[in-house]
Amino acid sequence: MSTDTYNPKGKFFRWMDDRLPIIRLMHGTFVSYPTPKNLNYWWNFGSLAGIVLMIMMITGIVLAMHYNSSADAAFDSVEHIMRDVNYGWLIRYVHANGGSMFFIAVYIHMFRGLYYGSYKAPREMLWILGVVIFLLMMMTAFMGYVLPWGQMSFWGATVITNLFSAIPLVGDAIVSWLWGGFAVSDPTLNRFYSLHYLLPFVIIGVVILHIWALHIQGSNNPLGIDVKGPQDQVNFHPYYIMKDSFGLAAFIFVFAVFVFYFPNMLGHPDNYIPANPLVTPEHIVPEWYFLPFYAILRAITFDIGIPGTDIVLLDAKLLGVIAMFASILVLFALPWLDSSPVRSARFRPIYKWAFWIFFLDCIMLGYVGSQKPEGIMPILGLVGTVYYLAHFLILLPWLSRFEKPLPLPESISNPVIKATGEVGHEQ
């Protein structure tokens, strides 16, 4: 795949190229990178996520100039930003809604990977690095939501950090260590601020590895078949630069609708009430992007012990924590759980259905996570959780063995011609 067409012109660029070929690297990454020519719009969301990350870091750095991370002053300093800092309202609303936009982009990016089998050989490392980014994002987002120090900030932090108390023997000690005290308080806020500022830089590092791994094997494509030659590919520039630019403009439009007209729709009203350790909100809910995992956390309401005795081996709380972590960690094993040689769901008649049922399962879990655990909700949560894990641990390994895939097309350039339905342009 050596289509590196970088040709330094001028004295300075030749001098530079001999010493630090960073422009060559950029050229290879964003200009001459050979890309399958049949990528659809679902492939836009990787670069969108990267751009939202940049927006988050720029707005975040500016917010940090005006924010005060003391528990006594944090809430007031956010109001100071909203009222007295020039365009502070804009910067904060972009940052607050940017978190949601980041997760929208990344979730679509991940579901696209699931549908078209982008996690399969030879792209396992690419997928694994993506899951690492997802984990880091979740940590960053969780700690960022604590910083305004509103009621949902405080109680969300309390609920989530308390999860670690489920760990046998050392759980309580770990929780005190995380808090820096005996409750979520000033030291907790300060360390969350420190880490919230640090982790995005770690994310950038892993994103660079993610892009590196992508460029080793090249992009997957909607057909899921390998590139057979240059006739299947186009250079990243101008083709995907243009396509990504169009997608970016449309995405920013949606982003702006939220920022300018519904800036608080994705947040919780309780977070405009200052944190109060003495008043528990009626209904503690995380941000929408955590709701499916929150549902899994609360799904298990029974202990597992030795039958006929009172001995509890795993209590419900610990089981919930295990289920929640398992639901994320199982993604690391996905490339080996699904060993079907066919990547794209287009040619996997049963997997295509399994994908959509799994997608709906995630939506259902999200809904369950937003509701109080009453009535039918705990049952739905349990069923959804079992199905979520079974999809990866049972269904996919089974499908890999017994599903009969449809015949694959010969190459990317052939079906492209057929799909457009234009006769007379056949090569």
Partner: protein, 262 residues
């Protein structure tokens, strides 16, 4: 199924899901209280702006009624310029308040007239004093109330106009008032507004509904003072992004013409 059909199906699914979540969030807010009255506000919508006259009347309602128990701690007198007062008028309003300042050169605190840089004084020295004066209840600060409740504007208006005769099982010795728009129905605040309670400078008749609507507008401004700038900028940004998106759509299509022909 063709690629295009599949794409549009997926798009519809995602749009459906996002709307579903929105509705779920709305339903969630309802809980054990009556759904707020759906009012039309001048500040709603893409071009929504505050009604200056309503804001100034609302300030009067806050000063004459709410301020005896509720603080408004994020609003300074200088901010009143934003609701249509001149700097001199805002200063005159500030000067009606007595503010504790100091320490002076002798180390003593002293009282002086309010200035533009001062914030609205707090009605109580601390939370204990506030609870003592209100049968144990704490009147919340009003600066952010409109954003700290679901459907903030409708909610505030509904509570202010929503006092009713209590149901049959109501405890007759209760110090609480019955208000079905308040979570749980029992509210420590007695009905605060009565017809003609406030003397409006512009001669508007001070009905309960009028005062409630005015003070709601004022409190929405207090919570979201940059709304007008936001709406104006938003319209420009969306207009620009729409044109840019259309231009890039055609530029992208043109870029790919040759590839798609091959």
């Amino acid at each position: 199924m063709s690629n295009r059909m599949m794409s549009s199906k997926i798009t519809k699914t995602i749009i459906g899901v996002i709307f579903g979540m929105t509705i779920a969030a709305g339903v969630m807010a309802a809980g054990n209280q009556r759904h707020a009255k759906d009012m039309d506000w001048s500040f709603e919508g893409v071009f929504g702006q505050y009604d200056r006259a309503a804001l100034q009347r609302g300030l009067k309602v806050y000063q004459d009624v709410c301020a005896s128990c509720h603080s408004l701690k994020y609003i300074a007198f200088r901010n009143l310029v934003d609701i249509g007062f001149s700097a001199d008028e805002a200063l005159a309003i500030a000067a009606n308040y007595q503010v504790t300042d100091g320490p002076d050169q002798f180390g003593d605190m002293f009282i002086r007239d309010g200035r533009l840089s001062d914030y609205f004084p707090l009605p109580f020295a601390n939370e204990k004093a506030a609870r003592f004066a209100n049968n144990g209840a704490l009147p919340p600060d009003l600066s952010l109330l409109a954003k700290a409740r679901a459907n903030g504007a409708d909610y505030i208006y509904s509570v202010l106009t929503g006092y009713e005769d209590p149901p049959a099982d109501w405890d007759p010795n209760s110090l609480m008032s019955y208000n079905p728009y308040f979570s749980g129905g029992a509210i420590a605040m007695m009905a605060p507004l009565f017809d003609g309670f406030v003397d409006y400078a512009d001669g508007t008749e001070a009905s309960v509904e009028q005062m409630a609507a005015d003070v709601t507008t004022f409190l929405y401004w207090a919570a979201e003072p940059k709304l007008e700038a936001r709406h104006k900028m938003g319209f420009k940004v969306l207009g620009f992004m729409l044109v840019l998106t259309i231009v890039l759509y055609f530029a992208n299509r043109k870029t790919w013409t040759e590839v798609n022909k091959k």
